[in-house]
Symmetry: C2
Subunit: 265 residues, 2 copies
Amino acid sequence: MTRVACAQLAPRIGELAENRARTLAAIRAARLRDADVLVLPELASSGYVFADEAEARSVAVPAGGPLLADWARAAGKLTVVAGFCELGDDGALYNSAAVLDGHGVRAVYRKTHLWDRERLVFTPGDLPPPVVRTKVGPVGVLICYDLEFPELTRSLALRGAELIVAPVNWPVVPRPQGERPPEVVQAMAAARTNRVFVAICDRTGTERGQRWTAGTSIIDESGWVVAESTEDTLVVADLDLSRARDKAISERNDVLADRRPELYG
Amino acid sequence: MTRVACAQLAPRIGELAENRARTLAAIRAARLRDADVLVLPELASSGYVFADEAEARSVAVPAGGPLLADWARAAGKLTVVAGFCELGDDGALYNSAAVLDGHGVRAVYRKTHLWDRERLVFTPGDLPPPVVRTKVGPVGVLICYDLEFPELTRSLALRGAELIVAPVNWPVVPRPQGERPPEVVQAMAAARTNRVFVAICDRTGTERGQRWTAGTSIIDESGWVVAESTEDTLVVADLDLSRARDKAISERNDVLADRRPELYG
């Protein structure tokens, strides 16, 4: 079994030192719980609701800088996926997620589908999301709004991802009483459609008037939520990721082999 | 507003005359309720759990035959989408859906993604699902398992469908207490992902030991179920289909324009 944890917490806008302390504490907490994989929220290094590009730039960090090195050192045997505000070598700002462990930074993904005002601050990534060969198996990485593109979750499954992890910051959107956040419904569908596990780490709190959904959810390969919370807490689930290798859903059906791409054009 | 109805009923395996009577009664009931669109279940003409190909062949009907003519005559101004066991001109059997109104048969779609033992009976269709220009606007047609391919729902939205209708026969699958059928979760996600309305007509009853989900659901363009029932009944909703033309979900986001197909390969 693979123990997957999501540290739902509240980054503080612009407070680099404070966010560093909170994320390092979450890594330590996940290690104490013997987690194999820890997901942190989108932009966990910096907060989300920037006034403008200049403010984001003032707190952006390079992938090769000390913050990611600190995260990697703290991770040890744990695989950590954390959102951060990246200052690229090219001088552009990216809404990125790093995959790290004690050996260092394994991959950096730059969000390819930017949400609303992010477009005023960040440059969209121009590479597909990675499938990282971690100790627990192949892990695909998406960030927030990316998850709402079934083409992208499908492509990760076709490339062998058994677990899709997604740092997110979900602004609250209206929903009928008793319903889950709509983004969770989409993630449940993505899990079942592809028979992959999905672990989403959202954030809590309110930032400059923006309320967050706090919709952290871990979803199994049949599309059911197996762990969730709206609190500031570590959400944990033990998953048999090998089940994601079996794409059969009946004696004669396989969710990937049954595709007919010639009809989808 | 467009009034969409789904006639959840129980076809009887092999009983052509009885199924003709039940489906014609459903068409009359929908007209009495002033529906604009009526969806009937998959294989409404014939029932589903065939012992073998020979039994299916014994109740298959051509698209140009009297049953569809009777449905069309009964439909009048109503647009009817009904599943039937089709005997093709080529002698093959298809799991098909007809779109009809008082002017006759507007389109026939042959299911392209066959479920389990259907593969022993039916030939899969080799044409993409149609988007039919009906009086109420462009309507895309899928059948049952087709709905679980987000590539297909996406392609219908890209081709302008405002409403996706799906005759289905959903076998009961396990689900946690309090959850919707997983196929409904996938349909809710398809609706929100594409900002299209979705109307699914399932069946009731048990057939040769097969229990059915009876998951008839009408879903709005934000992905919320607005009408549903597990009973033998007409499920009805009034929908403003024009809302499906607006793909914006924030000041700067549009669910179709935001796609980046170059990254999905």
